[in-house]
């Protein structure tokens, strides 16, 4: 299983700080699709993704137990 963490307005859209999903062997792009199927109002188009607190791209493969974080870039200043 994998723990998926949501930050800022993504957390509000999902309604939880984190969820558990089995994403072993999938890519980050696959995982985004899986999340979108369950939570239709989440916009993951521009988000940054971390696997175990390390930057990950859409093609990176998720392993058993990896923790994934979706972090939306914000622009206010």
């Amino acid at each position: 299983m994998n723990k998926i963490l949501f930050f800022a307005h993504l957390r509000d859209a999902v309604g939880e700080e984190s969820i558990m999903m089995d994403a072993k062997g999938k890519t980050i792009a696959d995982l985004k699709q899986m999340v979108l199927e369950t939570y239709k109002s989440v916009n993951l188009e521009n988000v940054m993704t971390a696997i175990n607190e390390e930057f990950a791209s859409d093609e990176d493969i998720i392993h058993e137990g990896n923790e994934i974080a979706f972090i939306p870039p914000v622009s206010g200043g």
Binding site: F7, A8, N46, M48, E53, P72, V74, G76
Partner: protein
């Protein structure tokens, strides 16, 4: 002078040698809103040699809750932020050379302003300017510090050309529909936390303590008690157009900038983003209504009243700003609401 900076020179990573370095450096601050105010005050008090501040906006009542350099008087006078900041900073520390520009930080202006600058601090409210700062930083080999916040959520990243990945390596394109302070609100502690991260990094860079510079992307939510630090060294992309082997500095090219044009014979400015967007008008309408804006709409467009102007936004990102002929004012309104 010794007494004035004694508590900072007693801090051993700075010391007397560090203080002399701080004194010899020139920092460019892009933006004089919340992040700009706080960062500028810290660096002015720290005794930086020269501080250049650029901002296109003026002080409004809704700024006072978090933009620490401004007063009610500045609001009454509709004082440009750059001028208000300059006035206040000169009173804080007359040792520091303060230079202020009331202007839009366009790519051309940035290229002109970075000459002789040791560090750029991002205190803007939009990604278009940040990507231009990112390109200018790579072109002239000047470090810069990204900072941004909305609500209780904030983030920062330090970019050292030739060493760390750049913002374009990480984001790949300009994210649109980023929440802004005008749509998602903001609390002052979030601002201060981002300022703390940026200003600490600034001091490290000014004293040339490169080993101490943070190489991770930090983000936090002060209300939800979430903190994360993401290692980004892997993000460095040899094919990046801003910092890679065949770099073109795409965001210094005016073709890739938001286009704004005054519409002939009408008191209206049209804004067109560089790429076609797909804006969820329903979501945006809901957000703006919650903030008390008067919003009307249909499936194709939204009409929002903002003071004396009216913004009409289409779902491809194009907008008409009625009630002005001022391109900068129109762009400010647009980026405030749409990031």
């Amino acid at each position: 002078m010794d007494e004035r900076y004694s508590r900072q020179t007693l801090f051993s990573p700075i010391g007397k040698a560090g203080q002399e370095k701080i004194r010899s450096k020139h920092v460019l601050m892009i933006g004089a809103g919340a992040l700009g105010s706080g960062n500028a005050e810290i660096l002015t008090r720290a005794g930086v040699g020269k501080l250049t501040i650029v901002d296109r906006d003026y002080v409004e009542a809704s700024n006072l809750q978090r933009q620490q350099l401004y007063t009610e008087r500045d609001v009454e006078e509709k004082l440009p932020k750059a001028a208000g900041a300059e006035k206040r900073l000169r009173k804080i520390n007359s040792d520091v050379e303060i230079e202020a520009f009331i202007t839009d930080a366009t790519p051309e202006k940035l290229e002109e302003l970075v000459q002789g600058v040791d560090l750029i601090i991002d205190a803007t409210d939009n990604f278009e300017t940040r990507m231009a700062i990112n390109d200018v930083s790579q072109k002239y080999q000047i470090p810069w510090i990204y900072g941004a916040c909305v609500g209780s959520f904030g983030m920062s990243l330090t970019i050292i050309p030739g060493k760390t990945p750049c913002l374009n390596c990480i984001l790949k394109k300009i994210p649109i529909q980023g929440m802004t302070c005008d749509t998602g609100g903001i609390i002052a502690p979030t601002v201060q936390m981002v300022i703390s991260h940026q200003a600490a990094e600034a001091l490290k860079i000014l004293v040339e303590d490169w080993e101490a510079v943070r190489t991770s992307f930090i983000s936090f939510d002060l209300w939800r008690n979430q903190y994360t630090s993401m290692k980004v060294s892997k993000a460095k992309d040899a094919g990046c157009l801003s910092c890679g082997e065949n770099r073109t500095y795409p965001y210094l090219d005016s073709e890739n900038m938001t286009k704004s044009t005054v519409l002939c014979g009408r008191d209206t400015v049209q804004i067109r983003p560089p790429e076609r967007q797909n804006i969820q008008l329903n979501d945006l309408s809901q957000q703006l209504k919650e903030l008390g804006y008067k919003v009307k709409g249909n499936p194709y467009l939204l009409s929002v009243e903002i003071d004396e102007q009216r913004l009409v936004i289409f779902n491809d990102g194009r907008a008409l700003i009625h009630g002005t002929k001022d391109l900068t004012q129109a762009k400010t309104i647009y980026q405030r609401l749409l990031g």
